[in-house]
C-alpha cells in the first residue's frame, strides 16, 4: 500500500517574500535579471563560513535550515537537491581565472565549490547528516526529479521519517547574461508585473532556493499532501499534453473538475506560452488559473516557488489576487496542479492536496 506523503516544513528565498505576495504588495523589478531578497544569512550560517560561500550555497543552506526548523526536525534522514545550472558563480570564477591566467597559478577554492552537488554536500556537512544524499540537474525538471526520488525513498524505507528536498539556482554575472544573447531573455524596457501583457519573445530571470521537509507522518502543521509528481517528454501539442494531464489526474483518483487551482509555468515568451494558453481555454477553462514567474522570474528550479506558494495557499485558504490569470474563484482550495515546461521539453506535473 502506498503511504501518504506530507510537506511539514517549508523554506523559500526568492525575489519576493511571503508578506509581499499575501499583502498584495509585490516587489517590482525593472530589469530582465533580478536578485533574490537575502534574509539575514548570519542567523543560519557562521560568519567565517559565510565569507567563502556563493549565493547558491547561502540560499540553499539557509532555505534548508528554515524548512527543517519549520518542521521541527533536527536531522533529516536524507537530503535531495535539484539544481538546473548548479554553482555558476564559482564555476564562472574558476573558468575566468583559468582563461585569463592561461592555466597558471590557480587556486582551488572556486573549483571545489563549482560542482553541482556543492549545496547538497554543504547542507550535509552543516547538519552532520550522513544519510542518503543526491543531486539532480535536469534543466527545469531538476527539482521535480529530486521530488520523485524523495517520494520513492519514503515509500521504500518505512523507517525513514524525514527527507529534506529542495531546488536552488543562482544568478552569475556572465553566464546568466548570456541569456541576453540567445533569446532567452526579453530585451528593452521591462516591468516584471507586465510580463504577460508584453506579447514578445523571451522572459525574465532571477534566482532562489526552495526547500521542503517531506514525511509520512501527518501532524497538524502539515501544509500539503504531495499526491504525485511526474516528468514526461512529448512532442508538445496541447491535445497530447491534455491527454497526459487527464491520465495523470485519473491515476491519482481525480477528474478535471476536482482541480481547484491550475498553477501554470507561463514565462511571458510569446511562443512558449501558446501551449499554456491553449490549455487555459480548453481543459482548464473552468479552473482558477494562477501564474508565478512574473513575480519570481523564470529559472530552472522556480517551480519550487509555486510549491511554496501552494503550501501557503492551502494553509491560509487564501489566494493572492496578484497570482490570478482569470476570474474563476476558489473559496476553499483543496487540489492544486502545478504544470511547467520549458522549450518544449521537461514537462512536469506536481499534484498537491490539502491534508
Amino acid at each position: 500500500m502506498s503511504r501518504a506523503i506530507y510537506i511539514t516544513g517549508i523554506g523559500a528565498i526568492s525575489a519576493q517574500t511571503e508578506e509581499s505576495i499575501f499583502s498584495e504588495k509585490p516587489v517590482i523589478y525593472n530589469s530582465n535579471i533580478f536578485q533574490a531578497i537575502s534574509p539575514n544569512f548570519k542567523e543560519y550560517i557562521p560568519a567565517m563560513a559565510l565569507r567563502r560561500m556563493s549565493k547558491a550555497i547561502k540560499m540553499g543552506l539557509t532555505a534548508g535550515k528554515i524548512a527543517l526548523q519549520d518542521a521541527n526536525v533536527e536531522l533529516p534522514a536524507a537530503i535531495i537537491t535539484g539544481t538546473g545550472e548548479g554553482c555558476k558563480q564559482d564555476t564562472e570564477k574558476f573558468l575566468e581565472s583559468m582563461l585569463a591566467q592561461e592555466e597558471e597559478l590557480l587556486t582551488p577554492t572556486s573549483f571545489i565549490q563549482s560542482t553541482h552537488n556543492t549545496v547538497g554536500g554543504q547542507i550535509a556537512l552543516n547538519l552532520k547528516c550522513t544519510g542518503y544524499n543526491l543531486t539532480y540537474s535536469q534543466e527545469n525538471a531538476s527539482l521535480e526529479s529530486a521530488l520523485i526520488d524523495a517520494i520513492l525513498l519514503l515509500k521504500e524505507k518505512l523507517s525513514m521519517n524525514s527527507v529534506l528536498v529542495g531546488g536552488v539556482d543562482e544568478i552569475s554575472k556572465k553566464i546568466t547574461s548570456f541569456g541576453n544573447l540567445n533569446g532567452f531573455l526579453k530585451q528593452g524596457k521591462i516591468d516584471n508585473l507586465g510580463l504577460f501583457s508584453q506579447r514578445s519573445r523571451g522572459t525574465i530571470t532571477s534566482e532562489g532556493a526552495f526547500f521542503f521537509n517531506l514525511t509520512t507522518e501527518y501532524n497538524e502543521n502539515c501544509y500539503a499532501k504531495i499526491k504525485a509528481v511526474s516528468n514526461f517528454n512529448t512532442d508538445s501539442s496541447s491535445v497530447e499534453i491534455s491527454e497526459k494531464i487527464i491520465d495523470f489526474l485519473s491515476r491519482n483518483g481525480l477528474k478535471l473538475k476536482d482541480l481547484d487551482i491550475f498553477f501554470l509555468g507561463k514565462n511571458g515568451d510569446l511562443e512558449q506560452d501558446k501551449i499554456y494558453e491553449e490549455l487555459q481555454i480548453s481543459i482548464f477553462a473552468e479552473s482558477c488559473q494562477l501564474a508565478y514567474k512574473h513575480l519570481a522570474g523564470d529559472f530552472n528550479t522556480v517551480s519550487g516557488f509555486a510549491i511554496w506558494l501552494s503550501c501557503l495557499i492551502l494553509k491560509k485558504q487564501e489566494i493572492p489576487a496578484i497570482l490570478k490569470l482569470n476570474t474563476v474563484s476558489s473559496t476553499k482550495p483543496k487540489n492544486i496542479l502545478i504544470y511547467n515546461f520549458s522549450s518544449n521539453s521537461n514537462h512536469s506535473l506536481i499534484l498537491l492536496q490539502k491534508p
Binding site: 574558476f94 592555466e103 560542482t115 552537488n117 554536500g121 550535509a124 544524499n133 526529479s145 517528454n233
Partner: protein, 396 residues
Amino acid sequence: MNKGVAVTGMGIISALGNGVEANFKALIDARDGISFPEILITKHTHLPVGEVKISNFNLEKNLLIANDHSYTRAALLGIAAVKEAMKSSGLSEKELLSTGFISGSSVGGMDATEKYYLEYESSKSHHQFIPAQHPGFTTKKISDYHNIKGFTTTISTACSSGANAIMLGARLIKAGELDRVIVGGTDCLTKFTLNGFNSLKILSEEKCKAFDDSRNGLNLGEGAAYLVLEAEHLAKDKKIIGRVLGYGNANDAYHQTASSETGEGAYRAMKDALEVAGIAVEKIDYINAHGTATRNNDLSESNAIKQIYSSKIPDLSSTKAFTGHTLAAAGALEAVFSILSLQKNLIFPNLNFFNPMQESGLLPITELKHKSVNYVLSNSFGFGGNCTSLIFSKNE
C-alpha cells in the same frame, strides 16, 4: 529472495577503446589507456590522462551527425556508449519510446563553454552551445539522438554520478515505476577539470598507483558507459548478463572535497549495499575499488573496507590505472568491468602497484586472476562527501 534487477545490455567507450570487446581485451592484456593529452588542448601536456583517441570530428562522422549542431564531447561519447548498450540488449525503436534514461554527468558541456566563453559576446557563431554547459542538456542530446522518450533525468554528484544513476534506475524498476531504463554516465576531459584537480594538487605526473605506499595522485580520464536494466517480465526471454543486486548511498559529512580518515561515508554506503543485496559480507568475491590513487582517497577507502571486513578482505583492485578517473562516468565504466568480471570469472589487475600502504598493508590483485566470481562490490566516491556502493551478481 532478492533477485536484483536484470542487466540486459551494456556499452562503453573509454581510453581503452570503443566498445566492450576493446575494453575487455585491454583489461586482460594489462594494457592501460594512459597517455598525454592530444585531443584536449591544454598547457599541461606533461600530465598523463586517459584520453579517448577519437576526435569530435570522427565521433560525429561515425554517428552521422551533420555540421552546425550542439553536441559536446560528453554527449558524443554518451551517444556512442548508449548505442552499443541498446544494440547488445536488442532494443527496438518502438521500445525506446517508453524506455527511461538516467545519466550522470559532472561538467556536462564545459568543453564547449571553455572554448567559446570569451567569444559569445562578440560573435554569434557558437551560441547554440550556451545552454550546452549544463549537465541536463548533455542528457537531452543523447536521448534525442536515440529518440528515447521515457522518464529522463540527470544526476550530478561529481565522481559518484554514474553509480548513482545505476542505483536510481534499479530502484525505479524494483518499485514498478519503470519497466526498462538505460543508466550510466558520461564525462569528457576538459581544461576546467584538469586545471581544477591540478590546482588541488592531486594529479600525478606519473601513471597513477592506486593503493601503493608511494601513490601521489590521480590521472584524469574521459569516457561513457551505460547499462540497460529491465523488469523481470521483459527480461525473462532475453539474455541476462548480470544483476544489480544491491546499492547504498551515504554522505561522509566531513569535508567538501576530502574524505574522512575513517571513511565513514564509504563504510555506510557499502554496509547499506550489502543490506539491500541481502548477502553476507563474505560472499563478495571481488571489490572494484574507487581507488583514485590520491593519498586521501585510498587511505580512507582502505579504512572503510577494513571496518567492513574484520578478517579476510576479498580480492580487490582499482581499474583507474587503466582508464584514468573518468569522474561522473567512473561508476558506470566500473559497472561494465564488474559485469565482465562476473561473466568471465576474472579479476582485473591493479596496475602500477609495488608497495603496500604502511597504514593499511592492503594488497590488491596485481595480475589477472581466474576464479569463480559471483558477487562484485563496486565503489564510487565524490566531492560533496558523496559515497555510493553497488553490488552486481551473476544471473542465477
